[in-house]
């Protein structure tokens, strides 16, 4: 029975004792607060005068500021349970002294003093209670359990109210102070016993301590104020709090004015306050237990945050229409029930989105600065407006404040998810997107960094830094790069010349001429080709000699030069040399001739007879032993002048079986030259390759040559439901890069999310069976776990087209971290996403607390109920590996 109730109100097995403790503690605190509220108000309004209420607000604000500085000094330094003890002891002393003054002294100052004591104590206790909660539960638990735990406060308030209503005439109003003191003693004892058994609060994080506590406290508040400037969430939260305080206190004043005029004696007023408190607490309690967390789960903290501002506007509207008892009752319902049920739990969640080490300071700042400021403004404005006589003036003030409150609450809601994502990003060490060039503002610092990079001993690192230097500083880079490459070997110089050719700096010409005579034949051919491509005048004189060179690369460079300069006199000689290179038995000559394929379309039509020789040359190169030569031959095919090269068919299909992934990739780049059925077969095989680069190359091949590649891939993925998770990943990445339709991506995300749910259900079914006795089922279990993660990845990848990529990265990293706190925060980020259908499924999957109930609901929708039917489902799944494992499992299962 208890378990069923616990499941209904979302308590997990290990949490019952904690929840019971917090419920009891907050019950005692709530009970005391009810006694304090009712008696402080009644005594002050009747024995001192409600007209002094605005002045009291100003006094309370100043005192609140001072006491809160002291609070800020200790908030993060000591465990919150110890701070509770300090608060309780202080309050007990003050209450008993005040009771003595009221009972045995004639002074009327005791009533405003008692009023102030209550106001300060209630604020400090409320702030600290929330802080205590966050030091004992993680964010997911806070979200799930805080409405229930705060319901303990409501129970207490209700009980206190009933006690007030029933005993106000018999006990005497002032004697309730003694009862409140007794409740505080009980709270003290409860906390002491609990922490003696369970130790310090588990999420307490002490900060650094300094000798100067006051200075430290001021520093804490200053840090909090500093953080307000940089944090959108804290800024919106603080401004919203400012207007909330004005809204609240103007409403308090308004309704209390009506009640004071309605009830003549302090006993009847106290009794009424007791009844009002009890009734509003019951309403608040029912809302907190049965409504709040359901709304939080369905709509998220962002939307629930707006309920109280909206109802406040309605309260003022009612008061504007009719400043009478019924409107006052509605106002009281709003500020006591609706605020406690919706605003307080949500406010805690928003604070928990801030970094842990700043939460205490942020709360302290709100109590030290924001609330006192707002209270002072409220008091001042009310004091002026109550002199005008007509209550409409201050009701209008309240309405204005409530409207501003709504506006800033909305801004708070918008900042919540981004703050959560930003914190997660820091905790999970997710780097900023973009490369070194995009992240630097200071160009001198960037230049220095890149310059140091090109001095690296590793040639490839030097090359990459040179590439970046050339991009970022095209004027300054060439000189530096040319100085650097003096020490490099010739093959590396070759790469650098090709790099520098793209910008054609003036220094390059001189460098090339200076290097020509000292270079080996390979580098010489590169230098000649570079000079020819720059159409260097003096270089033209080298053509004739180069054409008759023994070295095929130099000859090829010369042939290129003849084409480039369009030298008609050397043309016949160049063509003969070209033919010799193509038909030669020397692999070196054949390879050199491949470089000329790029220029084939530029040549005279009579050269087309070379194509036949090229065909046999390439086929010969593709069947030799060296992978390097095969790759060179494959690369040259990108310039093949014909649309098809059918003779390649057998060759490419054989080459595709190579263990070298780079050869497989090169095959895919040119599979469009093959007959249609070979091409399709190769792509289908490649898209399931074990190497991710090969899979990407297969998808790129589709994008290069299909008529409508996006439609083709969507059809493959969605309509025909083909491919393993990894193949789908490659396809999705390509669709994302091609800006596929958002509707399609949403459909894919939804499909994948549902698939993940089904796979998870399959995994759970298996776990609940005797799978360890059967090796095939054991393998099935591993496979299902892997497929689950892969399917979640696919869902998030598809969501990237619809949401902020950084938020998706954060969610992905948080889920992979397997840390429950990070997962809980990731779920909050998901709640804020636009595509709630998908986000809700993901939240269902990862939010353990809801799984028991939602699982039963979702199980009914699953296509299988037992292990055997699950295996049949897996056998028919689109993933080939899952199918294979399921087939094995079914064989052993029978």
């Amino acid at each position: 029975m208890i378990k069923r109730l616990g499941s209904f109100i979302l308590i997990r097995d290990r949490e019952y004792r904690h929840v019971a403790y917090f419920f009891a503690l907050y019950f005692l605190i709530g009970c005391g607060m009810a006694l304090g509220r009712g008696t402080a108000d009644a005594l002050f309004f009747k024995r001192y005068g409600i007209e002094y209420l605005p002045v009291m607000y100003i006094i309370v604000s100043l005192l609140l500021c001072l006491t809160s500085v002291a609070y800020a000094a200790f908030a993060d330094r000591i465990p919150s349970e110890r701070f509770f003890n300090i608060l309780f002891v202080s309050l007990i002393g003050l209450l008993l002294c005040n009771w003595s003054l009221i009972t045995f002294s004639e002074t009327t100052l005791s009533y405003p003093v008692y009023f102030v004591i209550y106001e300060i104590a209630s604020e400090l206790l409320a702030v600290h209670a929330a802080h205590y909660l966050s030091q004992n539960f993680d964010i997911l638990q806070v979200k799930r359990l805080s409405p229930l735990i705060m319901a303990g406060t409501q129970f207490g308030v209700m009980t206190g109210g009933i006690f007030l209503a029933s005993a106000s005439h018999s006990i005497g109003v002032q004697n309730f102070l003694v009862f409140w003191s007794l409740l505080l003693v009980a709270s003290l004892l409860l906390i002491s016993v609990w922490h003696r058994m369970h130790g310090t609060s588990p999420y307490f994080r002490p900060g650094h301590t300094r000798a100067d506590k006051l200075g430290q406290a001021v520093n804490e508040v200053q840090q909090g104020l500093k953080y307000i400037k940089s944090s959108d969430l804290l800024r919106a939260l603080s401004i919203a709090l400012f207007f909330m305080v004005i809204t609240f206190y103007v409403l308090c004043y308004s309704v209390n004015r009506i009640y004071t005029n309605t009830f003549q004696s302090e006993e009847s007023l106290t009794m009424f306050f007791g009844i009002l408190t009890a009734v509003n607490s019951v309403i608040a309690l029912l809302l907190q237990i049965f409504v709040t967390n359901k709304l939080l789960r369905k709509f998220g903290a962002r939307r629930v945050n707006l309920i109280f501002p909206v109802t406040s506007i309605f309260s003022y509207f009612a008061l504007l229409i009719s400043f009478t008892f019924p409107s006052a009752l509605f106002g009281s319902l709003n500020k006591e029930a609706i605020m406690n049920a919706f605003r307080n739990p949500v406010r805690n969640l928003f604070f928990n989105a801030l970094p842990e080490n700043i939460q205490g300071r942020a709360r302290a700042t709100s109590v030290v600065v924001v609330m006192p400021l707002a209270l002072t403004v409220s008091g001042f404005l009310l004091w002026i407006m109550q002199r005008m006589g007509n209550p409409l003036y201050f009701v209008a003030l309240g309405m204005t404040a409530a409207t501003c409150y709504l506006f800033f609450s909305n801004r708070m809601s918008n900042a919540y998810a981004s703050e959560m994502a930003s914190n997660l990003k820091q905790k999970l060490f997710i780097p900023e997107t973009g490369n070194i060039l995009s992240s630097q503002d200071d160009s001198d610092a960037l230049f220095d960094q890149l310059r140091r990079g090109i001095e690296d001993k590793d040639n490839q690192i030097t090359l990459e830094f040179s590439r970046m230097l050339l991009t970022a500083f095209p004027d300054r880079a060439p000189g530096l790069i040319l100085q650097r490459i003096d020490d490099l070997d010739n093959p590396t110089k070759d790469q650098f010349f090709k790099l520098l050719l793209s910008t054609n700096p003036p220094e390059l010409h001189e460098y090339l001429w200076a290097s020509l005579d000292d270079s080996d034949s390979h580098l010489k051919s590169t230098i000649l080709k570079t000079l020819f491509s720059l159409e260097s005048g003096p270089a033209k004189d080298l053509l004739a000699a180069a054409l008759v060179s023994d070295n095929p690369r130099i000859q090829a460079a010369a042939i290129y030069g003849v084409l480039k300069y369009d030298d008609k006199t050397l043309y016949p000689e160049a063509l003969n040399a070209w033919e010799d290179l193509v038909k030669s038995d020397s692999i070196g000559a054949n390879l050199a001739s491949l470089e000329l394929l790029e220029y084939f379309p530029q040549t005279h039509g009579s050269v087309n007879y070379l194509i036949k020789s090229y065909r046999s040359s390439i086929l010969r190169l593709l069947t030799c032993d060296s992978n390097r030569i095969k790759k060179a031959a494959l690369r040259s095919l990108r310039y093949w002048p014909e649309e098809k090269f059918h003779e390649l068919d057998t060759c490419i299909c054989d080459l595709y079986t190579s263990e070298d992934a780079s050869i497989r990739i090169e095959c895919l780049k040119h599979c469009h030259l093959l007959p249609a059925n070979s091409h399709d077969r190769l792509i289908a095989e490649a898209i399931e390759d074990s190497n991710s680069d090969v899979r990407d190359a297969a998808v790129n091949a589709i994008f290069r040559h299909a008529n409508d590649p996006a439609a083709l891939l969507v059809s493959w993925l969605v309509t025909n439901k083909k491919g393993s998770a990894r193949a789908q990943h490659a396809v999705l990445k390509a669709l994302l890069a091609s800006n596929a339709s958002k509707d399609v991506m949403e459909q894919i995300a939804l499909t994948k999310a549902r698939d993940a749910q089904q796979i998870l259900h399959a995994s759970r079914l298996l776990l609940s069976s005797d799978y360890r006795q059967n090796s095939a089922l054991e393998l099935m279990r591993y496979t299902l776990d892997e497929k689950f993660i892969q399917t979640i990845d696919l869902t998030l990848l598809a969501l990237q087209a619809l949401e902020h990529q950084e938020d998706i990265n954060v969610v992905r990293a948080a889920i992979r971290s397997r840390d429950p706190r990070h997962t809980a925060n990731a779920l909050e980020v998901l709640h804020s996403m636009r595509k709630q259908k998908v986000a809700r499924i993901l939240c269902d999957i990862f939010d353990d607390a809801y799984q028991d109930r939602t699982r039963k609901r979702n199980d009914a929708a699953m296509p299988f109920r037992d292990v055997r039917s699950m295996l049949f489902w897996c056998r028919d799944h689109m993933d080939p590996w899952l199918q294979d494992c399921a087939v094995q499992a079914l064989k052993s299962f029978s």
Binding site: S690, S724, E786, S892
Partner: protein
């Protein structure tokens, strides 16, 4: 269950391959070689240079760290499903123990050159191996911390 799938399951249960996807373990499973030993054999000796890891299909192997490879004082015994010698797939250090065949055994071995060849062509294998090593390091650190506290 067929031989290939049994091998995949064995690999998945080993420390070094626990974080590699079962799909990727197909290529590794195909590179495994069967070896048979009779009781009394020594698979490798302490301080010997090693180049492969072993997984026990059948039989019993005793591990000894005594510097004398002939002495049979076992610190642990291993049975079907267990693997040993896996660190030699990645490092060049000599064997840290002697492996004795207590009962007639059938083992699957993986040579490090084969694994390296697979890693070159299937880089995702290396990611999975790195993840496994990282998780093992974390759990060792936690064990050390709790031992220090005791």
């Amino acid at each position: 269950m067929s031989d290939l799938y049994s091998r995949i399951l064995l690999l998945k249960k080993s420390h070094i391959f626990s974080e590699v996807l079962t799909e990727d373990l197909r290529t590794v499973a195909q590179a495994l070689e069967n070896e048979a030993y009779v009781s009394g054999d020594r698979i490798f000796d302490i301080c010997q240079q090693g180049d492969r890891m072993y997984m026990i299909e059948r039989g019993k192997i005793g591990i000894s760290i005594d510097p004398d490879p002939v002495k049979k004082e076992f610190v642990t015994t291993m049975g079907p499903g267990d693997c040993f010698g896996e660190m030699n797939l990645l490092d060049e250090l000599p064997r840290s123990a002697t492996a004795y065949v207590i009962e007639d055994s059938s083992v699957l071995s993986l040579h490090k050159d084969k694994l390296r060849g697979l890693i070159v062509n299937y880089p995702e294998l290396s990611l999975g191996i790195l993840k496994s090593l990282s998780l093992r390091l974390r759990s060792t650190t936690l064990l050390l911390q709790s031992a220090q506290k005791d």
